[in-house]
C-alpha cells in the first residue's frame, strides 16, 4: 500500500533526525574547538589561565570547579535521596506516598533559573551566616575550610546542586526499590528481622540502582549551567578551598561567551570546554546506563 510506505518512510526520517542532531552537535563542537587544541594541545586542559588580551587560555581551574561542586552535591544528595526513596516507598501509607512522589516530581520540573535566583538571594546568605562562617571560624585550620567565605562560592553551588539533583537520584532508587520481589521482604521478616534490618538488606539488593542513580545525578550536576553560574562566584583561579569562589566549565561558558567574539581564540576555547564537558558527561552517563541495564538483567 502506498500511503503506508510513505508513512513508514516519514516515521523513519523523523526518527533518524535525532541521530543527525546529536552527530551535528558533536561535529560542531569539534570543528569550532579545533583551533585551540591545535595551538595549545594538552596544555589547554592542564593549565590555569584566562587572559583574552594575550589569547592565553587554560581551563583546568574550571574543570576542577566542576568536579568539586558536583562532588559536594553528590556527597549531600546521596543520603538525602536514599532516605527520600525509602521513606516514600516503605515508611508512609499510600496516600502520603503519592503526595511525596508528586512533590519530588515537582522539584525535578522546576526551572533551574528559579533555583538559581533563590540560591543567590536566599540560600547563599543563609549558608554564609549559619554554615560557612561558623565552620570557617572554628575549623578554619582544616585546609578545605581555610578561605574566608563570601556568600557565593563553590560550596554554595554544591549545596544548590544537591538540592536540584535529589529528585532525580531518588526516583531512580525509588523505582528499583519498588521492583524488589515481595517474597524477599516476606522472607526477611519471617527470619525475625526488624524494619531497619529489612531496609538495609533491600538497599544492598538494589546497590547497582543506587550507583546508577548517583552517576546519572552526577551527570546532571556537571552539566547544570545557569543555577551554578548565579552562585559560584565566577572567578578563574585555582580554588584554594571549598569556600573559594570559582568557575565550573558550564558557568565559564555562560559568563564568558558574550564577549568571546572579540577575541580570536576565545570562541574555540569555550567550545573546547564544552567538548570536555560533553566527553565527561557522556562517560558518566554511559556508566550509569550500563549499571541500570545490569540491574534489569540481575532481576
Amino acid at each position: 500500500m502506498n500511503t503506508d510506505k510513505a508513512f513508514r518512510l516519514s516515521l523513519f526520517f523523523f526518527t533518524i533526525s535525532s541521530f543527525i542532531i546529536v552527530a551535528s552537535i558533536v561535529v560542531s563542537l569539534i570543528a569550532t574547538s579545533y583551533p585551540i587544541f591545535m595551538r595549545d594541545g594538552l596544555s589547554f586542559i592542564i593549565r590555569g589561565a584566562w587572559n583574552p588580551v594575550r589569547e592565553d587560555y587554560g581551563i583546568l581551574p574550571a574543570l576542577l570547579g566542576t568536579l568539586i561542586t558536583s562532588a559536594i552535591a553528590i556527597a549531600i544528595a546521596l543520603p538525602l535521596s536514599i532516605s527520600l526513596a525509602v521513606f516514600s516507598s516503605e515508611l508512609i501509607p499510600g496516600k502520603f506516598k503519592i503526595i511525596m512522589n508528586n512533590v519530588s516530581d515537582l522539584m525535578a520540573s522546576l526551572p533551574s533559573v528559579i533555583y538559581g535566583l533563590w540560591g543567590l538571594f536566599v540560600l547563599a546568605p543563609i549558608l554564609h551566616q549559619f554554615v560557612m562562617m561558623p565552620l570557617h571560624m572554628h575549623l578554619g585550620f582544616i585546609p578545605l575550610l581555610s578561605t574566608r567565605p563570601v556568600p557565593t562560592n563553590l560550596f554554595t553551588a554544591g549545596v544548590l546542586l544537591a538540592i536540584m539533583i535529589v529528585p532525580f537520584a531518588s526516583s531512580v532508587i525509588r523505582e528499583a526499590y519498588s521492583a524488589i520481589p515481595y517474597y524477599l521482604k516476606e522472607a526477611a521478616y519471617s527470619l525475625g528481622m526488624n524494619r531497619w534490618e529489612v531496609i538495609r538488606m533491600m538497599l544492598g539488593y538494589i546497590k547497582s540502582a543506587i550507583f546508577a542513580g548517583t552517576f546519572l545525578a552526577l551527570g546532571r550536576a556537571m552539566g547544570e549551567t545557569v543555577a551554578v553560574a548565579m552562585v559560584v562566584g565566577n572567578i578563574m583561579r585555582f580554588p584554594k578551598s571549598l569556600f573559594d569562589m570559582g568557575y565550573t566549565i558550564s558557568s565559564l561558558i555562560a559568563s564568558q561567551f558574550p564577549n568571546a567574539e572579540a577575541y580570536e581564540f576565545m570562541v574555540p576555547a569555550l567550545y573546547g570546554g564544552a567538548f570536555m564537558l560533553f566527553i565527561m558527561g557522556l562517560a558518566i552517563n554511559l556508566i550509569g546506563f550500563s549499571m541500570m541495564r545490569r540491574m534489569v538483567v540481575h532481576r
Binding site: D4, F14, L106, I114, G116, W118, G219, V226, N285
Partner: protein
C-alpha cells in the same frame, strides 16, 4: 529495649528526618518566589516594558512574556512534531535495531547539558545569519524537548491494548489513519502529557537561550530572524545585575514563570489521574 530495637528506632528516625529535609527546599522556594514576587505582579506588569535600572517606575515583563510564548509555541511545533513521530516509531517498531539505538540516543539527549545545545544553535543559526534571532532559540529549545516528548509518546502508544490495535488494522485502515485518527484517541492523555512536559521544559530552560536570542528588551516581536526576549533569560540577566530595581523585576518574573510551571504540572497530573479512572 534491646540494642537492635534502639538501632531500628534511630535509623528509621534518621531516614524520616533526611527525607523531610530534602523536601524542605521546594516549599521554601515556592514561598520565597511568591512572597517576594507577588508584590510586583499585576496586569500592567505582564504587559509593560522593563523599567530603567534606577528610579521608581514599576515596569513589567511584557516583551519577555510575549517572547516566551512565541518561543514555546515554535519549540513545540518543531520538537513536538519530531518527538511525536519518533515516539510512534519507537512504540510500533520497537523490535528493530534502529528503535533500540534511537532509545539510547534519546536517553543521552535527555542527559545532555543544555548549554551545549545553545552553543550548537549559535554555530548553525546565529553565525550564518550574523544576528541573534528567535528561530535559533526555538531550534535550541526544540532539541532540548525532543527526547522528553518522544519517550513519553512511546509510552502512550505502548499502553494501547493489542486487541485495539488489531481491530484498527483489521478494518483495513491505512497506517496513517489507524495511528493518527483511531489510536491517537486511545493514546490521547499520554500524548497530551508528553506535550505538556515538553512545554514546561521549553518554558523554563535558560541555558539554550543565552547565546541565541540575545533578549531584546524594548520590542515584543520583530520577526523570526530578529532578537527576542524570554522570561528565564530576563530572570537570569536581572538577578545578576547590580540594580535593586531589576532584582525585584526578576522576583516578579519568577512568580509568573513558577505559576506557568505549576499550572502545567497540575494539568498534567489531572490528565494522568483522569486517564486512570
Amino acid at each position: 529495649m534491646s540494642f537492635r530495637k534502639i538501632k531500628e528506632r534511630i535509623m528509621l528516625g534518621l531516614i524520616a528526618i533526611l527525607a523531610l529535609l530534602s523536601a524542605v527546599p521546594i516549599f521554601a522556594i515556592i514561598f520565597s518566589v511568591y512572597f517576594e514576587g507577588m508584590k510586583y505582579v499585576s496586569l500592567s506588569f505582564l504587559i509593560d516594558l522593563p523599567p530603567p535600572p534606577i528610579g521608581d517606575e514599576v515596569g513589567g515583563i511584557g516583551p519577555a512574556l510575549a517572547g516566551s510564548l512565541i518561543l514555546i509555541a515554535l519549540a513545540l511545533a518543531i520538537g513536538g512534531t519530531i518527538g511525536f513521530f519518533t515516539g510512534l516509531f519507537l512504540s510500533e517498531f520497537s523490535h528493530t535495531k534502529l528503535a533500540q539505538q534511537t532509545q539510547m540516543i534519546l536517553q543521552i539527549m535527555v542527559e545532555f547539558p543544555t548549554i551545549i545545545v545553545g552553543l550548537f544553535a549559535y554555530a548553525v543559526l546565529v553565525l550564518p545569519l550574523k544576528r541573534f534571532n528567535a528561530l535559533a532559540g526555538a531550534f535550541a529549545l526544540a532539541i532540548v524537548i525532543i527526547p522528553y516528548i518522544a519517550l513519553n509518546v512511546k509510552e502512550a502508544y505502548k499502553s494501547i491494548s493489542f486487541t485495539l490495535k488489531e481491530a484498527a488494522f483489521s478494518l483495513g485502515l491505512s497506517a496513517p489513519t489507524a495511528y493518527l485518527r483511531v489510536l491517537l484517541g486511545a493514546a490521547k492523555s499520554g500524548v497530551l502529557t508528553a506535550l505538556l512536559i515538553g512545554m514546561a521544559k521549553a518554558a523554563g530552560e535558560t541555558a539554550p537561550l543565552l547565546f541565541t536570542i540575545l533578549g531584546s528588551t524594548f520590542t515584543y516581536f520583530a520577526g523570526l530572524d530578529q532578537p527576542i526576549h524570554a522570561i528565564p533569560l530576563l530572570i537570569y540577566n536581572f538577578a545578576l545585575s547590580p540594580y535593586e530595581r531589576w532584582h525585584q523585576v526578576a522576583w516578579g518574573a519568577s512568580a509568573v514563570l513558577l505559576t506557568i510551571i505549576l499550572t502545567i504540572f497540575l494539568v498534567s497530573r489531572m490528565i494522568i489521574r483522569g486517564a486512570r479512572t
